[in-house]
């Protein structure tokens, strides 16, 4: 590991100022991704600005009945928060499906959002990789890509975003609060991560030194149901092969509000906007869910070994929406 300087400022302004002056510095949350990447030599910041103990550690109701989640809140704390469990089950379930107890206890909301891909070539400094070293090529296209993207990839990179939490937040229309020397701004979660295009080294739309301070959830839709489901190689403690988070509100048998987001299919949580539009006002039946999701996944461009993801994701989404519709109609919470 390269030598670096460690700072733990007491407030956000100092944190932002420290990083503004350090073009190759980085914020440090729980360290469960960044420290790992530093050991592997994938990341080599010369300054770590520890933001894990900044006073962004509260989960509070907003004036409009939504929820504001501080960026330093631990994944484990958020997962079991009573308001999250009650009003946003999709988020609680997504968090609990990620990593292990030990890792969730250390991981922060900000760090989870900005964790990097698990593509094996990205993590191996002995291999070429356009994301780690732009212009060196993408061995995954011909090599080990069973876990990688089927949607929104480019010839330069086929990596996926590994976060479960981000998928739930995409389905919940979350907003990310960001601080920087240029003042605060608010970024819809669905605009935070970017598709690789010809710049796969840039995972997100954030600029250097921008600090995530909070994530805000809009108030839950009355009577809506939500859930998260994840397919993986083991029953627990594995990254997703495909996952789906959904929110559904049914009125008189018709879809009144629907959000569907897929995980592990793309470099960002994949909001199924085509499917959502197709479903609005339609009967909340398995047949319409199947139609809409097929429509959405028609955009998939699988590689040699990851075509299984498309039917897997479709079946998961259709069965989940069917269950949510039944729960919504039956009034069970």
């Amino acid at each position: 590991m390269k030598t670096f300087q460690y700072e733990r400022p007491a407030d956000a302004d100092t944190a932002v100022a420290l990083l503004a002056d350090a073009p190759t510095g980085a914020y440090l949350g729980g360290g469960t991704n960044l420290v790992d990447l530093m050991k592997l030599g994938v990341a080599a910041p010369d300054l770590l600005v520890d933001v894990s103990r900044l006073p962004f550690d509260a989960v509070e109701e907003t004036g409009t009945g939504g929820l504001r989640i501080g960026a330093a809140v631990r994944n484990s704390t958020l997962a079991v928060h009573p308001l999250v469990r009650e009003r946003y089950p999709v988020l609680s379930q997504a968090l609990l499906s990620g990593a292990s107890t030990q890792l969730r206890n250390a991981a922060t909301v900000g760090g989870n959002l900005l964790q990097r891909t698990r593509c094996p070539y990205f993590q191996d400094v002995g291999k070429p990789c356009n994301k780690r070293r732009p212009g060196t090529g993408c061995p995954a296209r011909e090599g080990a890509h069973r876990d990688l993207a089927v949607l929104g990839a480019s010839e330069h990179c086929v990596a996926t975003n590994p976060s479960d939490m981000a998928v739930a937040l995409a389905a919940l229309d979350a907003i990310v609060d960001v601080a920087s020397g240029h003042g605060p701004r608010r970024v819809p979660l669905t605009d935070l991560h970017r598709l690789p295009g010809d710049a796969p080294d840039r995972d997100t739309t954030l600029r250097h030194g921008e600090l995530i301070t909070a994530v805000e959830l809009p108030p839950p839709m009355p009577g809506a149901r939500s859930a998260y489901r994840k397919a993986r190689d083991r029953a627990s403690y594995a990254f997703a092969l495909a996952s789906v988070g959904a929110v559904l509100q049914v009125r008189e048998g018709l879809v009144h509000h629907v959000r569907v987001a897929f995980g592990a299919l793309a470099a960002k949580p994949w909001r199924a906007r085509t499917a959502e539009e197709a479903l609005l006002g339609e009967p909340a039946t398995t047949a319409s869910f199947d139609d809409a999701v097929r429509h959405e996944l028609a955009a998939a461009r699988p590689l040699r070994d990851n075509g299984y993801k498309v039917p897997l994701a479709r079946r998961m989404a259709v069965s989940m929406l069917t269950e949510l519709a039944a729960a919504s109609a039956g009034g069970t919470p």
Binding site: Y6, D50, S52, S100, Q102, L103, S236
Partner: protein, 189 residues
């Protein structure tokens, strides 16, 4: 840099710590507490599990500077912690006494050498220890589970221990040990 934090109930100070050291390294190489094991170093195996401000974390992924002013409990502190909770510390095996670790530089700080926390005794009694490398991490994780949830279901145990990999036991004896410790905990209450 200097790092000051509490380890197993005692204030400890480490000087000239390199920023790139992990909490695991500081515990093992500077505090003479080699119980937490150094295996995958990537947060995957759980052998380095310690409690940081009460919750189990992988100490291999905690940068040394991050523990400033915080509280750490390692496997070496489990017996003491169990006693403080009001559980029994039981008499350990002769082998354990013979090979009992020596804390340095601040001297032994655990219960009497050979005294074990109930979870440790249960691991021995259930035959849940084979090569032993994963054991300290499992003990810390299992102890925390039982503190939180005195009668865990098998699913609870599996989920709580899913971050701790074992290559020898096939996990069945480990599950037995946690069930045993839970049952004994019930007897005491």
């Amino acid at each position: 840099m200097r790092v000051t934090f509490t380890v197993n109930g005692r204030e400890q100070e480490a000087d000239d710590v390199w920023e790139g050291e992990s909490l695991l390294y500081v515990l093992r190489e500077r505090m003479g507490l080699p119980g937490s094991k150094n295996a995958c170093e990537q947060g995957e195996c759980g052998s380095c599990t310690v409690r940081l401000d009460d919750v189990p974390v992988c100490s291999c992924l905690v940068a040394a500077g991050q523990v400033q002013g915080r509280e750490v409990v390692t496997v070496e502190g489990l017996a003491d912690q169990a006693r403080e909770r009001g559980g029994r510390a039981t008499d350990g095996t002769t082998l354990d006494q013979a090979k009992g670790w020596q804390a340095k530089p601040h001297g032994a700080q655990a219960a009497q050498p050979g005294q074990l926390a109930p979870i440790q005794q249960a691991f021995i009694d259930a035959g849940a220890v084979q090569c032993g490398f994963c054991t300290p991490g499992l003990l810390v994780a299992a102890d925390e589970l039982l503190e939180r949830n005195s009668s865990p279901t098998d699913a609870d145990i599996r989920e709580a221990l899913s971050g701790n990999l074992c290559r020898c036991t096939g996990y069945e004896k480990i599950l037995d040990a946690v069930r045993l410790a839970a049952a004994r905990q019930d007897e005491v209450v």
